[in-house]
């Protein structure tokens, strides 16, 4: 399970060589690279994530496609190391601590896969290996897709399994969860350090999709996703104040089952020379989080190659059944909620609003290649702002509303 980074590099190099070797027979070799930035500051965390990715795809024959790639997350910032709510905060004003250097991580992902198409049926498979200072992941995925009724109907099934490991502090085996200590840092993780241990996490993900062209200008898709997780799912670094002078590492259930249903529609408006996209998604899991999401995107051509889009998204969720902003007490909705405790704002009730702009330049070679050597080129730039408003989550005893996050994405796709 603990492959070294050199194995990852060898794997990517191998896939790249296969792709390059296939170039001689290929109709198309495709290069895809994207770069994303995520930044948020109002929650005192100054979290900055830079996410580059590179994928190379080759088609050795009309029916076979192979790809290999790499992606990463370069993370720097701070996170809440010990969470206290307003009741505890009132008598302990310094209890909420935002550490200043707790998060500096580098997530590396190597991936590769293939797809084979025969008539209207496509089969595919792939693998992925990911490392972080405190988290390792190995996964594989398979997919099958068929198109029916003169390509008007598409049916797709996907399955993925993750074999993940997360680092933790070695705990006293006889201690109750309220006596567990948080992991102070990732130093020593995945080494022989006797103070560190690993927890297994198993993730099974299933997805079924149906796409349908209803008219020459309208199509839709419906997707159902089921995910089953088993293993340690807490943030190992975070403590929660659960009583007077008593803080303990987050303690969440080992099992979680998640369901999502999404429905999307694309409608092309000829007079407008553009399309309107609408998306709805509903979600529920066994931790009793319910959420709903609505998306709208309007994209319009300006000339033959350039298009611009504006998008908006509204999202709202309930909190996990065991989530509380203060487990030490206080008036409802504060107070303990059963056996579990967490300080994750992602498990709290909140809503978010996102708005953004996307610009795309896309050309395909006709008689002459693009810039003399490409069969196609696509450039994408997208910028989004998210506004989070938490119903109950507090930090430093203060409610968090209007917390902004900024997302910037750049993409380049070139065919040769």
């Amino acid at each position: 399970m603990q492959l070294k980074l050199s194995h990852l590099a060898s794997f990517i190099l191998g896939v790249a060589l296969v792709a390059i070797a296939a170039r001689a027979h290929a109709q198309v070799v495709e290069l895809d690279t994207s770069h994303g930035i995520y930044y948020e500051a109002p929650l005192k965390t100054h979290m900055f994530v830079y996410s580059p990715s590179l994928t190379l795809t080759a088609n050795p024959s009309d029916s076979v496609s192979v790809y290999g790639g790499w992606e990463a997350d370069v993370v720097s910032g701070a996170s809440v190391s010990a969470k206290a709510g307003p009741a505890y905060q009132a008598t302990h004003p310094t209890a909420d601590v935002v550490t200043t250097a707790s998060v500096n991580d580098f997530r590396n992902v190597g991936k590769g896969g293939f797809s084979i198409k025969h008539d209207n049926v496509t089969f595919g498979g792939g693998g992925l290996y990911s490392t972080e200072n405190d988290y390792h992941s190995v996964s594989f995925n398979v997919t099958a897709r068929t198109e029916l009724f003169e390509h008007n109907t598409g049916l797709q099934l996907d399955y993925a399994h993750n074999f993940d490991d997360v680092c933790d502090l070695v705990q006293n085996p006889n201690a109750l969860p309220v006596a567990h200590l948080a992991l102070p840092s990732s130093k020593g993780c995945f080494t022989s350090d006797p103070t560190r241990m690993q927890h297994d996490i198993s993730i099974d993900s299933f997805q079924g999709g149906w796409s349908q062209a209803w008219t020459p200008t309208f199509q839709m898709e419906a997707i159902y996703t089921l995910q089953i997780l088993h293993g340690f799912q807490s943030d190992p670094y975070r403590s929660v104040y659960v009583g007077e002078g008593l803080k303990a590492q987050e303690f969440t259930p080992l099992d979680r089952m998640r369901h999502a249903i999404a429905l999307r529609g694309n409608w092309y408006i000829r007079g407008f020379k553009g399309a309107v996209r609408v998306g709805l998604r509903g979600y529920r899991d066994s931790w009793n989080i319910w959420s709903g999401e609505a998306e709208l995107e309007i994209e319009k051509y300006f000339g033959a190659s350039f298009r611009a889009a504006i998008n908006g998204r509204f999202y709202k969720q309930t909190g996990a059944i065991f989530w509380s902003d203060d487990y030490s007490g206080g008036n409802p909705p504060l107070g303990p909620k059963g056996s579990y405790f967490t300080g994750d704002r992602e498990l709290s009730p909140f809503f978010s609003v996102m708005g953004g702009l996307k610009l795309t330049y896309q050309v395909a070679a006709t008689e002459k290649k693009v810039l003399g050597f490409m069969t196609g080129l696509r450039l994408v730039a997208a910028a989004n702002v998210m506004d989070f408003s938490y119903d109950e989550y507090t930090l430093g005893g203060q409610p968090i509303t209007g917390a902004l996050a900024y997302l910037l994405n750049l993409g380049l796709n070139a065919g040769f």
């Binding site: 990911s130 999404a262 000829r270 994209e299 992602e346």
Partner: protein, 67 residues
């Protein structure tokens, strides 16, 4: 159960709604659900790590990246 199967069969057999020569617009890049898959995947990854929900856009992925 038979009624559900019948409805599905009727829906699918009635699905030849667009003839091949009418598919030009549907094949246009602006009509693809994930216009730029890598950029879309990055955006989903960032959003998924800030919310309690998941799904509806793909199942393959690895690592936490959830700080």
């Amino acid at each position: 159960m038979k009624k559900i199967a019948l409805v599905i069969v009727l829906l699918l057999t009635g699905c030849v709604t667009v003839r091949p020569q009418e598919r030009a617009v549907l094949a246009d890049p602006v009509m693809q659900f994930e216009g730029d898959p890598l950029v879309a995947a990055q955006l989903h990854h960032a959003i998924d790590n800030r919310e309690g929900s998941f799904g509806g856009s793909g199942v393959a992925g690895g690592g936490c990246g959830c700080n």
